[in-house]
């Protein structure tokens, strides 16, 4: 019997062949903490006098959630992280470098790696074929210090995708559709592994979007094969030597197989306050219009160059609705520069966008776009929980960059196919 991709990677890191359900101690290649979870991780290591990191060049401390800092308490947390970096040799990713998950895939992670991060969306790295998963501060602190952690090898759901995306429909719509179908706890503890012709043709940016949201179905990891697309991406990032081919065995055993036909999908939006509360545009057209006060394009889910380009193509030569704010946050400095150089930012700014520094931006409710009472926001982010954007009286809708751009034009949730 063959192995899933999950079982293959964990076997390599446990030093023996392992199967779903087994308990393993696995070596960890890449670790991250961010400014919301790093200070606690650092204090934990200090408490047991274990202030060291096993792999300094692959342990990255990110200042991205409150970047630049809006308050002195957070500025002091940043100082704590900078000092820990100096003391242990861990890499510090400064304010303005970007969201942890984007910088990790650009510069640190390789196919086949095990990656633990003190941030739930660490699963983004699954887009590169790495076993990447989010944990709490103490788990990641210990993984940083000892270079290993424990896992129970998860069972896998195979997500088999066929068909071409219709115009106006994107990988974000696919993952929202999937979560709407299986529920916010539909894959709790499981690994999701994506396969099929649609996946083979999907660019890395789309794979990251889908991998990023694995945790929104409760999954531990959202894994993609490592193939020509992966190789091309790593080469563009100047890391072609990090490439290796990775895929599940043809006779691997799956707990469940879920088939999706991308050609049947529609633009999809998650309504407040859970990600699985999804509606298709056909359903939305039958409802009263949903007015939107703020549109956000960015985050680790959809803040990549391709996402900004998709939005710019819709907004080109047009203006945002006068009552709808449009915030754009590129996910990394690399993306900011690329979008500056190819004219994407110019188009967005001409359409009325406010460009925020690379980082988590308004998604974490700390700053840069906190909602007022009863205000509604449509964002390309991954989560719409009550209070997520800094105000429990705010309403958050989730959609693709195309849906976000179309919505910014009209001031109400709009099907991008109406404005393309």
């Amino acid at each position: 019997m063959g192995q899933t991709l999950t079982e293959k990677i964990l076997s390599e890191h446990a030093g023996r062949a392992v199967r779903a359900g087994e308990f393993v101690i696995a070596s960890v290649d890449v670790c991250l903490v961010q400014d919301g979870t790093g200070p606690l991780a650092i204090r934990q290591l200090k408490e047991i006098e274990l202030e060291k990191v096993a792999h300094p060049n692959k342990t990255v401390l990110f200042l991205d959630h409150a970047a630049p800092s809006p308050r002195k308490e957070l500025s002091n947390d940043h100082i704590l992280m900078r000092r820990f970096g100096k003391k242990t040799g861990a890499v510090l990713s400064e304010v303005g470098e970007g969201v942890c998950h984007q910088v990790i895939v650009e510069s640190y992670l390789a196919p086949g790696d095990v990656h633990t991060g003190a941030d739930s969306h660490t699963c983004t790295g699954g887009g590169l074929g790495a076993f990447a998963t989010g944990m709490g501060s103490t788990d990641v602190a210990i993984a940083m210090a000892l270079g290993k952690t424990w896992f129970r090898v998860p069972e896998t759901f195979k997500i088999q995708v066929k068909g071409r995306f219709p115009e106006g429909v994107y990988p974000k719509d696919l993952i929202l559709h999937l979560i709407g179908m299986i529920g916010a706890d539909g894959a709790t503890y499981k690994a999701l592994e994506y396969q099929g012709e649609t996946i083979d043709e999907m660019d890395i940016s789309g794979r990251f979007t889908i991998a990023n949201m694995a945790v929104e179905a409760g999954a531990k990891v959202g894994l993609f094969p490592s193939d020509d697309m992966t190789q091309g991406y790593l080469q563009r990032m100047g890391r072609g030597d990090a490439f290796r081919t990775m895929s599940a065995d043809a006779d691997a055993e799956y707990e469940r197989v879920i088939e999706v036909d991308a050609s049947k999908l529609e633009p999809t939006v998650s309504f407040p306050h859970t990600v699985d509360n999804t509606r298709t545009m056909t359903q939305i057209r039958q409802m009263d219009p949903v007015n939107i006060d703020q549109v956000v394009i960015g985050t680790c889910t959809n803040g990549r160059l391709e996402d900004l380009q998709t939005a710019a193509a819709i907004l080109k030569g047009k203006s945002r609705d006068k009552d709808t704010r449009l915030l754009v946050a590129p996910a990394s400095r690399k993306i900011l520069k690329a979008a500056l150089n190819d004219g994407t930012l110019q188009t967005l700014i001409d359409a009325g966008a406010l460009v925020l520094p690379p980082g988590c931006g308004p998604c974490v409710g700390v700053h840069q776009g906190v909602l007022g009472d009863d205000e509604a926001c449509l964002s390309t982010q991954n989560r719409n929980f009550l209070g997520r954007m800094g105000n429990p009286k705010g309403l958050i809708y989730l959609g693709s960059p195309a849906t976000a751009a179309a919505t910014a034009l009209t001031g109400r949730i709009t099907d991008p196919r109406e404005v393309i």
Binding site: T37, E73, D119, M135, G136, I142, L146, D185
Partner: protein, 167 residues
Amino acid sequence: MNKMKGNAWTFGDDISTDHIAPGRLFHLRSNLPELAKHVLEDADPEFASKMSKGDFVVGGRNFGLGSSREHAPTIIKMAGISAVLAKSFARIFYRNAINVGLPVVICNTDRIKTGDELEVDLDAGVVRNLTKKTEVSFAPLPKAMQKILEDGGLLYHIAKYGDFNLD
């Protein structure tokens, strides 16, 4: 320690870490005693002032979904809650709770109401509802997690052995 008694405070399905430790209080994460005064504030604004030490938080499905913030189970524990009971837990919250020494129990919570007096026996794997005179059983933690919980959390487990010692 393994037999605990207190009153139940029920919450519904899908209680996220944003309900427990809201992002707008991000700046209090390095001041946990202060953050603990806001525990579960976005699910019930008065919860911190109403609860008593030793009480139980009782959820429905998928308790603790969302962010990896360990501050969520930490402040539930700091507030004096002795255990969280739910029909199911999100993966990261579950692991974090054990890591910080907060017992988590997976059981049917449908018939528990706010104010019911509960006795939770971790060794016997039983939740007794003393008010309703009913009981439900629950499966023990996986062995590795039991060991971490017994050592007072992951940090103290590693401090004790200098490494993982979970076999």
